[in-house]
Structures are given as C-alpha cells and as structure tokens.
C-alpha cells in the first residue's frame, strides 16, 4: 500500500468539490490498495456524507451509502434484492460495504489483482493472461479479446432485472442513468468499466415500482455455501396468473462481464405455462452468444440450469430439500 492523503468531507458538495478516490465501506478499495492494484494519492472518506435512506413508498430509493446488511433486512425490499445481498460476501463485509460501492466493486480476476501480471483492465494494452490461464471463474457472455473478467456483484444482477437507475452527481450537476446502461462491455477498453465520469459520485439507487416483483428470488450457485462469488446466479421475478406467466424479469450473474439481463428468456416466458418443461424451453435461449474458454464451458449449461432452477423454486409451493 502506498501512502495517501485522506480527507473526510461531510456534504455532497464538499465531496464533489474535493479531489480523489471516494472511500465508502472500503471493502474493495482498501483491499485493492493493499495489493497495490489501486494507488490513489488522495482518498476522500465519504461515510459522513448524508447519502442514506431506504424509501419504499413508491418502488425503492436507496441512499448510496446504505449498508448492504441494512438493505438486506429491510422488509420493504423486493425479495430478489434481499436474497442477492444476503448471499453476498460475509455478514462482516455486508455490515461495512455500501450499496453504491457494491455496484462499483472490481472484478475478482486473479490477474487483475496481481500487479506482477499483465491485465488490460488494470494496465490498458498490457495483455490478458486469463484467456489461456486460470479461466474457470471467467465470463462466457459479453467478453472481448481484451477481457473476459466477470462482474462480481450479486445485487447488481437483481437491480438490472428490476430496471434500476443510478443517480449520479458531479460538480456540474446531477443525472440519472439506467443501471443496465451504466455498465460498459469491455470491448477494447476494459479499463472503462462504467459510465461514471471523473469525480462523479453515485448518490442514489432508484428501483421503479413493480408490484409483482414481490414474487421474485435470487439463486446463487457457487463452490461453497457462503463467502464465495457466483459461478452462476439468476435473479428472476414472475407475474403469474391462472398458471401462466404474464410477465417475467430475468438477469444473471457470474457468467458475464457486466450484470446480464436476459430479455430473450423473459420474452420466451411470457404466455408460457408454469411448468418445468416451459421453463427449460425458455432457458434454452439464455446462453445465446456465449463464447466460453476451455476452462469454463460448463458455465453455458450451468447458466441455463440456474435459470430453470430459479424459476422452479419461485413457482414451487414449498422450497425443496432440507438444506436448500
């Protein structure tokens, strides 16, 4: 870790007037500073800035500095958001990590985190060892020659499924961007991960009202049952009437370079009967366009199967399995 200057603004205006990297929960930034992956000269601790609040009166408005743990246990939060949060990291990390920071967390790619290795995301143009190296955790969707790293967030997957927007502020003013558009595919500029401008701050996350998202869930498949990133995850919501799907929201994580909305699966589900067979058929288009590496080909069938599992769990009367 390199030496840095630390300031602690107490208002949004002061934070935006200052210079330097914003520090919220610190669970990504400090981690990467210890590894010398991030070497900010100036860090602004914004924890005293009043960006709090969970408002469920019309949809959901979340202050960017709300802690993951507080949002997860709030009764007015859509189930897929709560479940995505509860399956993220560990309780200790959720107590610290902010919602805004969660959306900006960096990839867990082993090469990104090791400064002795090339990485196009960390050092543009330096190369990507992941394509031929340890590729099991990497993405199969939204990849490019330059980068195959997965986006690690769970809750961003649920938020993308729910058409969430992020409110952004900088010294020049504020704007609102759909979260789906906020994230950038790596293309040949993987170091540009999102739409955030220099000095810009996420102030709020806004989820439009969607009453039938009360019928939603988040399924996370991973190598251990807690404190591990997804091999594949699925956020699904279903509007079911008379044993038919009227509308659906489906997004997946752990398989793509950005949180990945599956509108084709949603379309295939509309009008379909609530049956395992129909879910399988709809999930058949989930992995369209996937380009697996040699080590992560399993993510293609896993992606389809995870979507089916999530749809089945959402429509079963009783959760199955004693330790499910």
């Amino acid at each position: 870790m390199q030496s840095f200057e630390l300031t602690a603004p107490t208002t949004v205006d002061d934070a935006l007037a200052g210079a330097g990297t914003f520090l919220a929960g610190g669970t990504t930034l400090v981690d990467l500073m210890k590894l010398d992956v991030l070497t900010p000269r100036h860090v602004q601790d914004i924890n005293a800035v009043p960006l709090r609040g969970i408002d469920t009166t019309d949809g959901l408005r979340l202050g960017a500095l709300e802690r993951m743990s507080d949002v997860a246990r709030h009764p007015g939060v859509y189930p897929m958001i709560s479940r995505a949060l509860l399956q993220s990291a560990s309780q200790q990390l959720r107590n610290m990590a902010s919602m805004g920071g969660n959306l900006l967390q960096r990839t867990r790619c082993t090469y990104f985190r090791d400064v002795s290795m090339p990485c196009n995301r960390r050092v543009p143009g330096s190369g990507c060892p992941a394509r031929s190296g340890a590729g099991r955790m990497h993405a199969v969707l939204g990849t490019s020659e330059a980068c195959v790293a997965t986006h690690p967030s769970d809750v961003a997957v649920a938020l993308v499924a729910l058409d969430a927007q992020v409110s952004l502020a900088d010294a020049a003013g504020t704007r609102t961007v759909p979260l789906l558009d906020f994230y950038r595919l790596p293309g040949d500029t993987p170091h540009v991960e999102n739409d955030l401008r220099p000095g810009e701050l996420i102030t709020e996350i806004v989820v439009p009202r969607l009453d039938w998202a009360a019928n939603s869930t988040y399924v996370k498949v991973r190598d251990r049952q807690s404190y591990e990133f997804a091999l594949c995850s699925a956020a699904v919501a279903l509007d079911v009437r008379d044993a038919r799907v009227v509308d659906a929201r489906v997004a997946v994580g752990g398989v793509a370079t950005v949180p990945w909305r599956l509108t084709a699966v949603e379309e295939a589900l509309r009008g379909a009967p609530v049956t395992e067979e129909a879910f399988q058929e709809a999930a058949g288009v989930a992995a369209e366009g996937a380009t697996p590496l040699s080590a992560n080909g399993f993510k293609v069938p896993l992606l389809r199967r995870t979507v089916v599992r999530a749809l089945c769990e959402l429509t079963q009367d009783e959760p199955s399995g004693s330790r499910g």
Binding site: Q2, T110, A134, R136, D223, R224, Q225, R305, R323, G324
Partner: protein
C-alpha cells in the same frame, strides 16, 4: 474423561500470546520479498532505492546474504534456508529480506527492489512431466517405496489381475494443498548475553532450537525457542520457517530484535505444501468379493530438491488382506513451491484413491460396500508377520451403520424434491506411532506438580492431556497439575507430528511419575526424614507409612525443600518386534446434489473410530471433527492451482477455498474404546490425523450413490457432475 481444554479461556479472550504477539524494545520489522518466476537465475538486484527508503536499516539478498547453513535432521532431512543462492526453483521463492523501523516501511521498501532474472522454462505440471519420475526413497519407517507380494505360484501382479473374475481400476488424482493455518509463519528474534531467543509458532520447540543452532552455527544451548501457543500447524510448521531463520540471522547482524511474518499469499509459496498426486489402482476380486490382487502405482509432485514424498501407495499395504499386492511410489521434481508433511501425509490422498476404488469394486460386484470391506479386512501390513495389536474396525462399521441408518441406503440413492441424495462410506487408518520423549515432573511444596516437555500443542489438546495423564500417574486431581509446553528449556519430546504426542508424552509421564514418586518415597524414609526407616507407600498425593500419612507438599516442607524433580523417558521398544500398530475408523456421509445445478452439500457425517484409549473425550471429538471437515474440504473445496509458468492462480484465502460453517453439517463422532497397552503404557493411539483419512472418498462415494457419476479427482466441483445429471 472429559475436560474443557486448559488453554481455552486464554485463547478465546485473546490473552494467549502467540509468537508474533511478542514486542520488544527497539524491535525492527523484516519483510520477505518473493520471486515472480519459477525457474532461472537472479542476474542482478537493484536495492539502492529500497536502501534509501524511509526507515530502512538493511536489505538482504543472495548478493548480500545473511549467512545460514542448511540444517539436517534424520527425520526431516535438509531444511531449506533462504537467500543463499541465486537460483530460483519456484514461483514465490524468498529472494530478499528488507528490515526497517516499521512494518509498513519494510513492506513498502521491498516493493522498490528491482530483480533481473535469466528466466528458464518451468516444469510445473505433474501429469505433463511423468517422464521425469524417479523412484521414491524408502519411507520413514524404512519400508521400500515399491514392493510386490505374490501368492505361491503367481508369476506377476498382471497375472493375478488377469485371473481375477472381477477387475476394476482407475486413475485418481488429488491437487496440491496448503495447510492454511490461521497463524502465518512468523517469528520474533533477539540476541543477548545468553544467546538467541526466538518466539515462533512451531511443532516442537526443541526441533526449532536444533534447526536454528545448526543454521546459525551456534551451540544449541545458546538458542532458546519459545512457543507456548501455535495458531495451527498440521505439518506445515515442522520445519523451521523462513521468517524464523531470517529474523534470527538479521537480529544477530543488526544487534536489535527483529520481527518477521509471511503475508497470507506468501504462506502458499514460501513455506511448503502437500504434493499433488496421481494414482493408478487396479483391484481384482473373486465374485464373492474376496480380493485376489491389488495394484497401486503412485506419482507425487516434489520441489527440485525432492525434499518430501507423499507416500500414497502405502495405504494399499495396510488396508486390506490380499494374496497379491504390488505398490510403487515415484516422485516428479518440478518447479513448484516446496512440499512437506500435511495432516495424514500419504494416507489422506491415498485413501481417497483406494477407498474410491473399493466403492467401484462394490458396485461392480453389486455388493454392499461395508460388507466388501469387512470381508477383506487386513490382519497386519502386507508382507509383515506382525499382526495389528488391536483392531475393532468391524465394530466401527457395525455401530456406524446402525447409527447412520445405512440399511436405508439404496444402490442408486434417493430423491428428495430437487435434491439427489446419496450415502457413502470409507475406511480410515492411520499408523499408531510414538517418538522418543523425555518429560520432567516436579513436585512442589504447595502440593501441586509441574509436567514439562518441549513439544507443542497447536490446538491438539496436548496441554490438557498432559494434565490428565499427569494427574493419573501422580494420583492427584488434574487441577493440581500445571502442564508446560513450548520452551526449548524443557526436555525434548512431544513434537506435534505423526499423531504421536499423546502416546509419546503419556509414556514419558508414566516414567517420570514413577521416578519422582520413587525419589519422594526414598527421601521420606531417609535418616532424619519424617518416615525414617519405615516402609512407605504413596497414594492420592500422600506418603503413607507407620500408620501415618503426609501430603507430598507437607513432606517436602518438612524436609526443607521447595521441590523435587525427576526426568522420565520413553521410546518405542520391544513392542515393535511383536505387533503392528494402527488406528482404524469407519467414515460415513450423506450428500445432496441439486438436480439442476449440481452443487453438492454434505448433509450428515459420522465417524466411528478405534483409536485405543481416548484420554479427553471432548478434545478428541473436536480433533476428529476437525479432521473430518478437512476431508470434506479436500473432497469439495481445496486445491492449489499451479499455472504453467509456476504462478499460483489461487494462492490466497479468497481463491483457495476452505469450507465455511454453512458447508458443514452436524458431525457425529463415536469411539470404540479398547486401550492398546501393547503399544504404550497409556493405551492411547493417535487421533490427530485419522479423521481426515477416508472422508474425501466417503464424500465421492456418496456423490456416486446420489448421481451415478464417479469422480476420480478432488476437489469435486459442479462441472464434474453437470453432464451426468438428469436434464
């Protein structure tokens, strides 16, 4: 007997002082820097910027090294010492040691050291370099690493297998693993008029004393090692660590105390790991399940010094009775971090292969896997006339099957909702060993006693066992015993390794107690003593004679003495010519595999163990549970991934997966207690390692039972199962 461990309050309240908890006036901090190549020569190192960095006191490199000699011990062979030459043989090898006034200064300065390498291609794949395989040297027990036993008239193992009505076989593999103890390897060293004192977690203070004395070329009496608490060892702290060597040498050179600790990432490369293994097993059996032939050929990875062999084929020498047996063991030297003992070395990966193969044989025979194992139980090691001293494995299986509900198992598992449920079992064995050990017992005038040995309790419970066995030998309540471990000043013995400590220290305590009580009685009846000229006896802390009695404390006070002490020693002896010795166990587990996504969850576990006498039931259960969790970890989580260039793809605790609480169900542990006094006077055999043995196979066998998918490697992950799941 069950007793809460004596050191628990200190540990859970944070008052136990581990090695690196020690801080000394004027202390400097050292930071180790490691290589970023796996094979080559260091051509040059530019340390100017590091030397000029704030607070830096010294920068040591192979060009400007701290002098360290290579220590050698009969058991561990050579112990590698850092910075002595410019050849790099693995990624993450220590190449510099930066010492500064603060830890941060040392760490930041080490990032300024520029290393120029002449890099050579690295060989890191075991499977890809089998042509480099060498025959392994004989094992620690002197047994040749390869051997063949054939029934009369049988020409070869191939013939024996060819004539077997039922034959199964496969190639099994297990990955490199790291002990991943919570306490990273670390040390605080300082020198004064008495010589060197080092505070460092290890598996035996007297072992570290010998290593450091040899490395630094000083008399062992001038080296004082302090190790009262250890944050986990598991074989990974048997050899003296890089920080201990460097802190000791730098402290001598600089005349100030030096603290050094490895980072978590460095623990994976700058200590030593369990080797990767490949194993080929073929089993031949009669149709009734009687084994006719067993062949077990093993390869393990090794560092370029071939410092360790993971003897997996040895498992097949002891587990089953077979008229024809051929085992071989080879090592493949690679450009990988050093390899060493890790909990159940040989037995853990060896049992994964053999016990998986036995399950495959049971399937081929359409026979219950327990029945197959009981039918072929061994009476002793293959090729040895010495039978097991005491073996109740059949009871373990009978009790286990009953408690686990084994009779409800079907050959194709069962389904509960979206979960495919299966049960698996496997045999666990670990040799009963003990090492020469000396213990000192001191009786004190306040009617308490000290029991001291230079070994270590890295969470095993040895400290509490010493109190219990000391109390038994002295006929006192355990609360009157103060057990003492972890100083090289104490007598040598009680190293934590090979599941030996209870048997080794317990036997020495019996000898020392006998000696000190004899001395006590002799003093009691000496001229002018309270029992002068009388026949005296000792019981319940009292000396009795002539119808009177005194506590030993009263007697000592009457004699004007504060204490009396005696040394007792014990070592393996004549029993080794009469029997073979092993602990046994039956492992059971139930798994659930999700029919859509293939994730495996262990839902129940049971181990029933025949380990001789259990001295402290509570700590023993914890030991066995811990071992069984290691087995789940091996089966489903753990594995170091070494890339082609030697870099570790997952060398930290984020990437090197260990199970969390959510992965582990309630664990049931039971004992069949038959004290094995043929092995040692206490009757206890080791329990530190047997819990891990067989459990990975039990999980794999349960996965097969649930899904019909046979996975012959660990860890078993989702991609191994997806294709075989119902759609």
């Amino acid at each position: 007997m069950t007793t809460t461990r004596i050191d628990a309050p200190l540990k859970v309240t944070g008052r136990a002082r581990y090695g690196s908890d020690h801080n000394l006036p004027g202390m400097l901090y050292g930071h180790v820097m490691t290589s970023t190549i796996a094979n080559g020569e260091i051509v040059a190192m530019d340390v100017a910027a590091a030397q000029a960095a704030p607070g830096v006191v010294a920068v040591y490199t192979p060009f400007d090294p701290l002098t360290l000699r290579t220590p050698t011990t009969p058991m561990l062979g050579d112990t590698w010492v850092p910075l002595q030459d410019r050849t790099v043989t693995h990624y993450g090898q220590p190449v510099a040691f930066v010492v500064a006034e603060t830890y941060e200064q040392a760490r930041d300065a080490s990032a300024l050291v520029e290393v120029s390498y002449d890099e050579r291609p690295a060989r890191t794949s075991l499977a890809g370099n089998l042509e480099l395989a060498e025959d392994a040297p004989p094992g620690l027990d002197g047994e040749p690493s390869s051997s063949v036993v054939l029934a009369e008239g049988v020409e070869s193992i191939e013939d024996a297998l060819a004539s077997s009505p039922v034959v199964v076989g496969g190639r099994y593999s297990t990955p490199t693993q790291n002990h991943a103890a919570m306490e990273p390897h670390s040390a605080v060293a300082h020198w004064d008029a008495d010589g060197l004192t080092v505070y460092s977690g290890n598996q035996g203070a007297f072992v570290q004393q010998a290593d450091l004395a040899a490395a630094l070329e000083v008399d062992p009496s001038a080296v004082h090692t302090v190790n009262p608490f250890v944050g986990g060892a598991f074989g990974g702290k048997g050899r003296t660590s890089v920080p201990a060597f460097l802190a000791a040498a730098a402290s001598r050179a600089l005349g100030r105390p030096v603290k050094a600790a490895l980072s978590r990432e460095q623990v994976f490369t700058a200590t030593a790991n369990r080797p990767e293994t490949l194993q080929e097993i073929t089993l031949g059996a009669d149709r009734d399940g009687t084994l006719i032939a067993v062949r077990h050929d093993s390869w393990c990875s090794a560092d370029t010094d071939r410092s360790f062999v993971e003897p997996t084929s040895a498992t097949s020498r002891v587990a089953y009775r077979t008229p024809n047996l051929a085992v071989s063991q080879k090592v493949v030297p690679l450009h990988i971090p050093r390899t060493t003992f890790m909990r159940a070395p040989g037995e853990a990966p060896g049992s994964f292969a053999l016990e998986s193969a036995m399950d495959e044989l049971a399937v081929a025979l359409d026979m219950d896997p327990i029945e197959l194992r009981l039918r072929n139980g061994s009476l002793g090691p293959a090729g040895s006339d010495l039978q097991w001293s005491s073996k109740y494995l059949d009871d373990c299986y009978r009790i286990g099957a009953e408690h686990f509900g084994w009779s409800s198992r079907t050959p194709t598992g069962r389904r509960e909702g979206d979960w495919l449920v299966g049960m698996g079992t496997a045999t666990a064995m670990f040799p009963a060993l003990r090492f020469p050990t000396t213990t000192e017992i001191t009786l004190q005038a306040d009617d308490t006693a000290l029991v001291s040995v230079g070994g270590s309790d890295p969470g095993t419970g040895l400290l509490t066992v010493m109190a219990l066995l000391g109390a038994e030998a002295l006929d006192l309540g355990p609360e009157r015993i103060t057990p003492r471990l972890g100083l090289s000043a104490y007598p040598p013995g009680g190293m934590s390794g090979g599941s030996t400590a209870t048997a080794s220290v317990g036997s020495a305590i019996v000898a020392a107690a006998s000696a000190v009580l004899e001395e006590l009685q002799s003093l009691a009846s000496a001229p002018d003593a309270p029992f002068a000229g009388q026949d005296v006896t000792y019981a319940d802390g009292r000396v009795l004679g002539g119808g009177r009695s005194m506590t030993f404390g009263e007697l000592l006070s009457a004699l004007g003495r504060d204490t009396i002490s005696a040394i007792g020693s014990a070592a393996p002896g004549e029993e080794m010519t009469k029997h073979s010795f092993s602990s046994f166990g039956a492992q059971f587990c139930e798994v659930r595999v999700h029919r859509w996504t293939g994730d495996v969850r262990v839902s129940r576990m049971l181990g029933v163990f025949d380990a001789g006498r259990i001295v402290n039931d509570q700590a023993a259960r914890s030991q066995l549970k811990g071992g069984m969790i290691w087995g789940v970890s091996a089966a489903l989580h753990e594995g170091l991934e070494i890339e082609d260039d030697g870099r570790l793809a997952n060398g930290d605790l984020a990437g090197y997966l260990l199970p969390v609480n959510a992965d582990i169900p309630e664990i049931d542990v039971q004992f069949v207690q038959h004290p094995d006094t043929l092995h040692n006077p206490v009757g206890a055999r080791g329990i530190g390692e047997i819990g891990v043995v067989g459990m990975a196979a039990a999980v794999a066998n349960a996965v097969y039972n649930a899904t019909g998918v046979r996975v012959r490697h660990t860890p078993i992950t989702i991609e191994d199962l997806l294709e075989g799941l119902p759609s």
